[in-house]
Assembly symmetry: C2
Homo-oligomer: 103 residues x 2
């Protein structure tokens, strides 16, 4: 994976160290997102077979409140946490709609 | 954090179990994102004091290739992984520009 580090020789050591940490965190994020979509795929299948709508505004409002609170604890911008969740939910609803279309 | 679960009594147990897993994963994502932004904040400070530009197209292209490959391993849509990285990078560049403006 690390073979494409173009011009690594010209990157200062401090910057390279930070980039290595970012790359490690990104790998963890990708694997967690994969696991999250496994869960939401099962939610989508459950909703499609139960006749429930793909989106659930009450659930989403609860998730947003919770993630904003968690973001404050983690010293992450709560606005960003909300934008992030909306970004993920948009993708989830797209999946749910395609599951529904195939059902 | 779990006190705002509106209408939990009416949510089928299977769906609630999946939602609980999603909530656990979301907490992990938020804390990882907070750590990632700590790293990129330090990158931004380094770039601002070194006179380097906020964005780095070569680095971003390498990150995109790497995350797409990781996504395939994790059975996550590579297109989504790329959209996700672009979403994060847009926020990082916004941070870098504001660090530069204050420098």
């Amino acid at each position: 994976m690390g073979s494409k580090r173009q011009g690594a020789a010209s990157v200062p050591a401090d910057l390279q160290s930070l980039r290595d940490s970012i790359d490690n965190i990104d790998a963890a994020l990708i694997y967690l997102l994969a696991e999250r979509f496994k869960c939401t795929r099962r939610v989508g299948e459950f909703k499609a077979t139960s006749g429930l709508p793909p989106g659930d505004p009450d659930r989403e409002a609860t998730q947003i409140d919770r993630l904003r609170a968690l973001a404050k604890t983690a010293k992450l911008d709560p606005e960003f946490a909300e934008k992030f969740l909306n970004f993920i939910i948009a993708e989830v609803i797209r999946h749910h709609e395609s599951i529904r279309a195939r059902a």
